[in-house]
């Protein structure tokens, strides 16, 4: 089983490119401002979450191990 992740989007950086939502729609969705929110970090596999984070054109997505606090991305 995948470990639990803490995932968040820095709204000072997010430009609403929405590639994260396109890649992992069960994890990310755009809010009323058209900025991304990680509404369900457990919605998809760790691999998919990391792929979405890496695909962010402005590096706005952060991923940590929820238990240990270890930074997984960036």
């Amino acid at each position: 089983m995948d470990r639990r992740l803490r995932v968040w989007v820095d709204h000072h950086r997010c430009v609403g490119n929405s590639m994260c939502e396109a890649l992992a729609p069960a994890v990310f969705r755009l809010n009323a401002n058209r900025q991304s929110e990680a509404f369900n970090p457990a919605g998809d596999s760790e691999e998919k979450v990391l792929e979405a984070a890496e695909s962010c054109p402005v590096s706005a997505i952060f991923v940590e191990d929820a238990q240990t606090g270890a930074r997984l991305f960036p």
């Binding site: 000072h12 430009v15 609403g16 490119n17 929405s18 590639m19 396109a22 401002n33 058209r34 890496e54 695909s55 962010c56 054109p57 402005v58 590096s59 960036p74």
Partner: protein, 407 residues
Amino acid sequence: MGMVTLSDDMFTADVIADPYPYYGRLREEDPVHWNELYDLWVITRYDDVVWMTRHHELFSNAVFRNDPRPAYPAIDESDLGLYEYVRNYQADQFIQHDRPEHLEMRKVVHSYFTPRAMEAWRPFVQKAVQELLDAAEHKGHMDVMKDVATPLPVLVIAQMMGVPAADRPHVRKLAEKLLNIGRGEHDRMKPLTEGMQGMIDYVSPLVDERLTNPGDDFISVLAAGERNGVFTRHQVLVNTSLLLLAGHETTINLLCNGTLAFLRHPEQWALLKEDPEGWAQRATEECLRYDAPVKSLQRIATQDVDMRGKVLRKDDRIRWFISSANRDPEAFAQPDRFDISRDPNPHVAFGSGVHHCLGATLARVEGQEVFKALAERFPSLHVETEVIEYQPSITFRSLKSLPVSWS
């Protein structure tokens, strides 16, 4: 109404030389302005530009497919056939599409341009910058545009395409013809179409080769899109040119406008020189904000949209002004001040939303490395001319040249 009516001619000599007062008046007096002369809406406030870029479903980017109006500024009547060629060429670029097609097309190229992937190009950029500056230093004088800003992006893009060294001069010649995309001269269609067709002729055999023998270059990425049925062959070919059409002039402008901003603000130049490595990142962001490479972008309304009490009708032509948004006092304190310590700096030089510039990280890397290297190697740099001239473009903020010298 009590307000002085602004001329709708955005190509007058004084507006081309310094558009900021003109944008500033529109932003204050009529932020959603109908420009009668060019038959388009002019959007100048930061909040409006951000809102519009994030509502892509209301503002189509399939401009060349959906806008039947003629080229502006006007072109020679004998070149109308060439303009049709340009329209068809541009219309097949992935950026000239809307969702859902745009998303499928962008996915093909998106992972090639991630921040991490582009950061890996930094050593190549550093080396290219040093070599260009070595040559300029040897000469004893330099035109920042001709000697650094124009060749650098082509070196990087040619490498991305996997162009053999022997072919680089040919690609550079084509790239210089493609720069006519952003010009205002009435006879620009001929060199532009020569560049476009020249790229198709040059790239076609490369695509064939990389369909059967893929590498890690950008043409292989596009060829994979053809294999998967996302791109037609023509789309592969025009999207290869898109690297130059979207990545050349824009980078030239970042490097030249940024350098000029530094040389006109000696205290900011002094600050950069104190710690070039430490300031390079924030300095580049401020250059992008203060004198943005792209002044404005066009869209077509997909439905009626209410904005600030006006109605933008379906099929209306719209231009949002990045350069104006970046100087909006509601978004930036002392917006007309060039200040490299500005942080945060949420400028919209790369746009926003689903069409946010694919090459943004690469442009940033090139800006950071050039500004850093200039500050380290040419601390006494100064502008060599009194006459600073710009290209008559509504889209690009392009200098004609930037001669500099040092002691």
